[in-house]
């Protein structure tokens, strides 16, 4: 038997603060295979990735590349050997063109376009996908950027491509394109490590799956013999995922109207939206990226200064202003938690108290440190945030835990309407269940929720009613009980416009 492409033997990693990120992890990737890597947040996937990429050395154990033991000490070493790593934040230069990015490593001396173009066309042939080589990367949608990153990996002659959450916030059509390219390259002899929270995609794409839990390999099996339940059980070690199979408890027919938005318009973003949220109701918003779903939440939160229209809470008009909307009970969990939700250099406690600093201060001016710490500690217990203490900087938390900190900002402020934008993106199954439970309990207390998500399954599980948006409008509205994933998907992508719009 020929040696495997990449083999990790007994890899362990211990960080100085005592965290044991990996314990005796072994992993084998053969030539021409797609290897799935799944695990809850904090299970050690990212650490394993960085070790394979050569960015950090393991504390114990060894890596073998094509049968020879290697000790990569810098990302350059692994790249030279043929490993390309595509992180969640795609490492492209946003201001350069597609072509320049793909051949970034070779740009030296005179820049001659013609020979590169020739090679680019060949590359696209292999990939089965062609991005316009003259476009500036910044202008490309996220999915296309991911494809450019794959093309770049291909151009460097990589024989193993490690992808970390490549499909997060990708539309279904984009996912298909990526998967087609990956499969095509596999038949060419390339190998992939595919790391994702979308278990259906892992099952669809991969040949073998390794499941990590708390830094240990709990299973390595052929994908063919697995199903989603088995994966989830292995990942969380408990049966949490039933949460997702449930549907929302029906709403009382006489529930009073909590929020009423009329004719929300914002140039280039929203085109006349009406929305009603009743007390205890969870309203889901489906739609592809750029459909206006995030913009709708921003408008409701008063964060869109050009928005016109009227928003009332319990019958009273609330002006378009973040502070007025907050005072009326709106709370907003934005899509990008690092860029919009948190102050990255701050500790948990400072982040948690920020929106409600006035009430946590003596005479509204002098922040009461003890009260702030208490609130943060309460939030940590309540939401199950995994952290040594409230003093931990938010940058050192995993995705799911950081997201819980964003929730914690609004937990004690007396909010009555949650506006949630992709609250479970990049969040593992366990934390996802926690968050969905939090949303349900919040609504059950007579509050309202508007939730935007690319995960239609999740919307169907948690919402009472789903609005489908496209091009800044609501094109359809369905009770969760009357619809299913295929219909929503079709509506969102504009396949059944006529039937969708004709129904009330």
């Amino acid at each position: 038997m020929s040696a495997a492409l990449l083999e990790a033997r007994g890899v362990s990693k211990e960080f100085p603060n005592g965290t044991r990120a990996l314990r005796d992890v072994s992993l084998t990737v053969d030539d021409g295979t797609i290897h799935g890597l799944v695990g809850a947040n904090g299970a050690g996937k990212s650490t394993l990735f960085t070790i394979i990429a050569g960015a950090i050395p393991p504390t114990a154990g060894s890596l073998r590349w094509r049968g020879e033991e290697v000790s990569w000490t810098a990302p350059g070493d692994s790249r030279a050997a043929g490993v390309a790593t595509i992180h969640q934040h795609i490492p492209l230069v946003p201001t350069l063109t597609v072509l320049e990015n793909v051949y970034l490593g070779e740009l030296s001396g005179l820049y001659r376009r013609a020979p590169l173009m020739e090679r680019y066309e060949q590359l696209c042939e292999r990939l089965g996908y062609r991005a316009d080589p003259g476009r500036i990367v910044e202008e490309l949608p996220l999915g296309e950027r991911q494809m450019v990153a794959v093309a770049q990996a291909l151009a460097t002659g990589a024989s193993l491509v490690c992808m970390d959450e490549p499909t997060a916030s990708m539309a279904q059509a984009e996912v298909e394109v990526l998967f087609d390219a990956v499969r095509r390259l596999r038949s060419d002899g390339m190998s992939f490590v595919f790391c994702s929270h979308f278990l259906d995609q892992v099952l669809e794409l991969t040949d073998t799956v390794t499941v990590l839990r708390d830094g240990e390999v709990v299973a390595t099996e052929d994908t063919a013999g697995l199903d989603e339940d088995a994966l989830v059980d292995a990942m969380v070690g408990r049966t949490l995922h039933q949460m997702e199979d449930e549907r929302a408890t029906p709403l009382a027919p006489d529930a009073p109207v909590l929020v009423n938005a009329r004719d929300l318009r914002s140039p280039g973003r929203l085109d006349g939206i009406d929305l009603t949220v009743r007390s205890g109701e969870i309203v889901g918003v489906a739609g592809i990226l750029g459909s206006g779903r995030s913009e709708l939440l921003e408008a409701l939160f008063g964060a869109d200064s050009r928005c016109s229209g009227e928003v009332t809470v319990r019958g009273e008009v609330v002006p378009h202003d973040v502070r007025a909307r907050m005072a009326a009970g709106f709370a907003f969990v934005p899509e990008n938690r690092v860029r919009q939700g948190l102050v990255p250099s701050w500790e948990i406690w400072r982040n948690v108290s920020l929106p409600d600093l006035a009430t946590l201060s003596r005479r509204g001016v002098l922040p009461d440190h003890a009260a702030e710490i208490d609130r943060a500690s309460a939030a940590i217990t309540e939401l199950g945030i995994r952290t040594p203490s409230a003093d931990t900087p938010v940058t050192s938390l995993s995705g799911g835990n950081a997201q819980k900190v964003v929730f914690a900002k609004w937990l004690f402020g007396g909010s009555c309407v949650y506006l949630l934008d992709e609250p479970t993106v990049g969040v593992d199954v366990g934390a996802k269940a926690d968050i969905l439970r939090l949303v349900r309990d919040f609504a059950a207390q007579g509050n309202g929720v508007v939730i935007v998500s690319s995960g239609l399954e999740e919307l169907l599980a948690v919402a009472h009613r789903i609005l489908v948006m496209r091009a800044g409008r609501v094109v359809a509205e369905r009770a969760t009980t009357d619809t299913d994933e295929p219909e929503l998907l079709a509506l969102a992508s504009g396949l059944t416009t006529v039937t969708g719009a004709s129904r009330p």
Partner: protein
Amino acid sequence: MTTTAPRPAETIASRPAPSMRQRLEPFRLQRAGVVYAFALILLTFTLASEFTGRPFYLSPVNSANILDQTVQVGILAIVMTICLISGNFDLSVGATAALGAGVTLTVLNTGAGVTVAVLAGLGSGVLMGLINGALVQGIGLNAFIVTLGTMTGVRGLLFILTDGQSIQTERADLGELFGGVVPINAKVWAAIAGLAVLALGVVSLRRERMGQVSSGYGPWLIGSGALLAVFSLVFFPTRWELTTQVYIFAAIAVIAWLVLRFTAVGRRLYAVGGNTESARLSGIPVARYKITPFVLNGFCAALVGILYVSRFSAINPQAMTGLELTVIAAAILGGTSLFGGAGNVLKSVVGALILFTLINGFGVMNLGANYQDLIKGVVIIGAATVYVLAERRGTRRRPKAATP
């Protein structure tokens, strides 16, 4: 999940005492480097004076002198730090200072009262700040470009208004208002300050013992307070002749520090600088927190201009050119981030003191003025290097410490 009130007290009582690592945090090179550098410079000049047979370097006269020389840059370094924390940048302070001085003298020369003249000068500074702030926050122009423009434009305006001539005044009342010396009994006041610090330390330590939230700095406060009290009683002069301007400087420094460190306003300012979008979505009126630092900068720049003319009774349109760069250098020495969200006004003050101690020391040592700027340049780059290396080592040392 319920939205309950924060935990009851019994869970808090079990809070563990801070670890030694946490206690030593404020002494790390990255955090306190500027203070070490200042102490080193003072020590060097003191020893050098001793060995070359010159008078005691830190004598009451010379120390008061250094403080007085630092006033203008020091005040501006404080507000510049505030501006940098908010994520902005202001190059126009030197020009605004000259404008404020010019307006004050012009109004004074029309025969108006000194209060009216000073208010007019300060008003012109506030106006400049508002213009900067409105252009940066309202239109969204880059702060560097806007203030580069206002810096150049205001100088030009001064040249037009004065036709290139200096403005003078014969009146002495401005000098009387901001000039003069107010002696202080340093022995007594420093001892009182030392005891106050000691008392704060005792309170902090008691809170810690009772398991309440505390900074963990109690032992240091007690130690340094006691040391200051004893040391001042033995060595400090009973008569320390500080100028009025030094008191204004000290007051601004203390107020700015207290506001940034202990109030919600300060916290929000750091949030706005640390992540503007997060701050906005947390309900903070971002525009206000972005524009106010510019206005403060304009106000304090005009104040500095007025302090300047109160001494010289004249200003030429080119006065205080390049002041803004010294001010920014002081802020950088103090470890202020140029990207917003981090900085400490007291450290910027120490940064300003370093720059002027160097100038003063070179004068006292008779080393020739030619070397001053070279040394200043080296110190600025050296400081930035130390901050970067200390930070890098801080992040690297952790993985190493873990390996057995």
